[in-house]
């Protein structure tokens, strides 16, 4: 091929050589794009916002728009004060991408034990701290006192710490959670996903390879149509694919090992999986509700306890929707703020104020108990 190329007159070779050079330049640009997160530096030291109003009564407070990239900042920092022992016990930081409907959040336990304090919520291993960020905010939870917030800001990642941080983020495990059946995020590395880096590096390598082939074969068309070129381009893609696959498989393997350890020899998997309260509810219903009978669940959480208990107990005991109260004899109250049972009067006060006669069948805790509704015919 080289011999043939040499015989081609200079005028005909010039353009293919130029296109090869352009291709090499394009590869360089792609490579630079892949490396940019490692060397970039946010212009501003930090976006700091001072709330105009004191944050009393623990509202959700969002900042004005603070356009920034998650890859430039590692944490959200809050300066606040509260009465020692009465202040909130949990700080929730929130952020939202431009145009997104929902917020992402991270929680941090806090202790107010002196005057003005500074709390930092590290986001370097949070898988949702990626891409462009439009707004940040905070919310407090726990405690019964007010809290005054002086300022809210973000902590910049310095250039010197970027490579080390990226390495740590690459290998930080992303455990499977409730959302994992819907989607997998993968690790967030300096604000980008793994596809960003691996895809760009593979594209740069493929572009340089094509440039080299074009240079040697006298044109991109010749390079692309040659069988070895196509084969080698597939090889570049395969290496990239294997890298992404290996990273994802590593997380899945860790998860499987954790699950096996957690559930190995478990005598009561329901308790491990659903929590002791729900497992105790299941046992309580099995012991007290006759076969074939129906029950309803009244809870602050309209889904989780009802779905879990329905599955665990079907088909021998049927869990009905709360609207079908009239069709059932048994009511499980599971941590519900809307209803209240008075054992001395034998009355269950419903959310709408209705009073229903009921007797206590069993109780596992102050907030979780099983009632049997008393029919009007019963004394």
């Amino acid at each position: 091929v080289t011999e043939q190329t040499r015989k081609i007159p200079m005028r005909r070779v010039a353009w293919p050589r130029a296109s090869a050079a352009l291709l090499a330049l394009a590869g360089l640009c792609v490579f630079a794009a892949a490396l940019r997160p490692f060397v970039r530096q946010a212009k501003s030291a930090a976006y700091v916002w001072q709330p105009a109003v004191p944050m009393r009564d623990k509202p959700i407070v969002m900042s004005p728009p603070v356009p920034m990239h998650a890859g430039d900042f590692s944490a959200i920092e809050v300066e606040a004060a509260a009465a020692p022992g009465r202040g909130p016990t949990e700080l929730i930081v929130l952020w939202q991408s431009p145009g997104a409907y929902g917020f992402r959040f991270a929680r941090e336990e806090v202790i107010f034990d002196r005057g003005m304090q500074r709390f930092r919520v590290d986001l370097t291993t949070n898988r949702y701290w990626r891409g462009r960020i439009g707004q940040i905010g905070i919310q407090w939870a726990g405690g019964d006192g007010d809290v005054d917030v002086r300022q809210l800001g973000v902590v910049r990642i310095e250039r010197s710490e970027r490579i080390g941080l990226a390495w740590r983020q690459l290998w930080t495990r992303v455990p499977l959670d409730n959302t994992s059946i819907n989607y997998l995020t993968g690790p967030a590395i300096l604000g980008h996903g793994l596809n960003f880096y691996v895809g760009l590096l593979a594209a740069a390598a493929a572009t340089w390879y094509l440039a080299l082939r074009s240079w040697r074969m006298g044109g991109m068309a010749a390079a692309l149509s040659s069988h070895p070129s196509a084969k080698h381009l597939v090889a570049f893609a395969l290496v990239a694919w294997l890298a992404v696959d290996a990273r994802a498989t590593l997380d899945l393997a860790h998860q499987a090992i954790d699950d096996l350890r957690k559930f190995r020899g478990a005598r009561h998997t329901a308790a491990l999986l659903y929590g002791d309260d729900l497992a105790a509810c299941r046992d309580m219903i099995v012991d007290s509700v006759p076969l074939g009978a129906a029950f309803i669940v009244l809870s602050n959480d309209p889904y989780y306890p009802r779905h879990r208990l329905a599955y665990l107990l079907t088909p021998h005991r049927v869990c009905l929707a709360p609207e079908r109260l009239a069709e059932t004899e048994y009511v499980l109250v599971y941590d519900s703020g809307d209803v209240m049972y008075d054992p001395s009067l034998g009355l269950l006060r419903m959310a709408d104020g209705d009073l229903i006669r009921a007797e206590l069948v069993a109780r596992t805790s102050e907030a979780i108990y099983l009632l049997r509704l008393v029919t009007p015919e019963e004394p």
Binding site: G186, G199, A253, L260, T314
Partner: protein, 456 residues
């Protein structure tokens, strides 16, 4: 004893499906029969259970097993009667010539797949079910049906049609219900084993089918691409959702429709219809996806089969009537009216779809590879005027997945990130098979006979 019944629950449908497939396509290799047999067997099982249950009958071990065993015996008898096929197209997964680099790559890929299979097996065997829809819909209905031994058909019954989401197709729940009925008890590790079967047989089916039309390395790469989709592995190791089941049947329908292209075979049309019914039965999204298979692959295959068009048309017409009847009987189609009533443009969903397909890790680099494959295929059209139907199929199927969120009020499920990745997971194996056929496939018989030429 119960372990023996578990083996019966898993192996009998597989055997029956494989034998029926062999009786229909005796000219194909054993790997196609094994992998495709899994899917056909599951379809036999859920179809039979559905007939029994909707007919108001109670289901027990014998009433469930005997007809499937009879189908297997009849197919075996039919196979035995057939003369040996001389021109059998064996699946060429034994590579005659490959470089050392290819063998090393194959070893790495096989190791990766073996690790994934081990992860899935360990997860299914050693940890309980936990995800919401699995507990609240698919496995809930399966547990109710298996526990009762019949399907409550009275709308006043709290367990009417399984007790929840009565408008969802029943069939995905019948897959675990079958295992529980035959094995005689409900054990989560047992009833979810079919998900392992789907996960293992899906790439095998893709590799076996594609290797008839392209070099084994390319067929193997496509199968690996599917098996290594991170979200697919999660659906296998956290079983109970219907998405992977739908993905398997849709891929099977696509491969059969591609087969109709290459062979002009009426039996391939029949199988494409059968697997398409399976896709629609598993989840409602499968219905329109099957429609895309029909429109983009089956109709052009029939149109291109010069000399056999009339015969294929007759098969296609019968298949169409049977498919329509099966879908009409098996599905509650009222959701279509709701879908059309909620039609509208939700342009702000684009960034969400981009996040699910490319930025996040659900699919790795899959959709980038699909886009590159399509660009490559379209760019090479001027040199190779081969059939473009597989490429058009990929575009239409992907567009369908996007349209679910862009053009209907299902956009709300995109805003909360609940379903976009799952919908595209349903489509991914079919897209992978078609894009491989589009980029690497040999010319169709039709295109050869009409004078087109192509890269082999």
């Amino acid at each position: 004893m119960t372990e023996g019944r578990l083996l019966l629950a898993l192996l009998l449908p597989w055997l029956a499906g494989g034998l029926v497939l062999r009786a229909m396509r005796s000219d194909r290799g054993w790997l196609e029969h094994v992998a495709g047999g899994w899917f056909l067997g599951q379809l036999l099982v859920v179809g039979w259970l559905f007939l029994l249950l909707r007919g108001g009958a109670s289901v027990g071990l014998w009433s469930a097993v005997l007809p499937i065993a009879a189908a297997a015996a009849a197919a075996a008898w039919w196979c035995a009667r057939q003369p040996p096929t001389t021109g059998r197209t064996q699946t060429s997964l034994h590579a005659p010539h490959a470089s050392l680099a290819v063998w090393i790559a194959a070893a790495v890929i096989l190791l990766s797949l073996a690790i994934k299979a081990a992860i899935v097996t360990a997860a299914i065997g050693g940890s309980p079910i936990r995800h919401d829809d699995a507990l609240a819909i698919w496995l809930f209905r399966a547990k109710a049906i298996a526990g009762l031994g019949h399907l409550p058909l009275n709308p006043a019954d709290p367990l009417y049609l399984g007790g929840t989401h009565a408008d969802y197709p029943l069939f995905a729940s019948l897959v675990p219900a079958w295992v529980a009925i035959v094995a005689g008890e409900w054990r989560e590790a047992w009833v979810t084993l079919p998900w392992l079967g789907f996960y293992l047989n899906l790439p095998l089916m893709i590799a076996a089918n594609l290797s008839r039309w392209m070099h084994w390395t390319r067929a193997g790469l496509t199968a690996y691409a599917v098996a290594s989709l991170p979200l697919l592995v999660v659906h296998a190791m956290r079983p109970g959702y219907a998405d992977m089941l739908l993905a398997g049947f849709l891929a099977a329908a696509t491969l059969s429709a591609l087969d109709a292209f290459h062979s002009g075979s009426a039996r391939a049309i029949v199988l494409a219809c059968v697997f398409g019914i399976g896709a629609a039965w598993m989840k409602r999204e499968g219905l329109a996806a099957f429609g895309v298979v029909v429109a983009a692959l089956m109709v052009p295959a029939i149109a291109a089969a010069h000399g056999r068009t009339a015969g294929l048309l007759r098969t296609f017409a019968v298949g169409g009537v049977v498919s329509t009847a099966a879908i009409w009987v098996g599905m509650d189609l009222t959701f279509m009216r709701d879908t059309f009533e909620g039609a509208g443009i939700h342009g702000d969903v684009w960034p969400v779809l981009g996040r699910h397909l490319g930025t996040w890790g659900s699919f790795g680099l899959f959709w980038y590879a699909v886009a590159l494959g399509l660009v490559w295929r379209i760019a090479s059209l001027w040199r190779h005027r081969t059939n473009v139907s597989p490429a058009i199929f990929c575009i239409l199927l992907t567009a369908y997945g996007a349209a679910i969120f862009l053009c209907t009020d299902n956009a709300r499920f995109a805003y909360n990130d609940q379903t976009p990745s799952r919908v595209f997971l349903q489509l991914s194996p079919a897209v992978a098979a078609a894009i491989a056929a589009a980029v690497w496939g040999r010319p169709t018989e039709a295109s050869v006979s009409s004078g087109d030429h192509a890269r082999v």
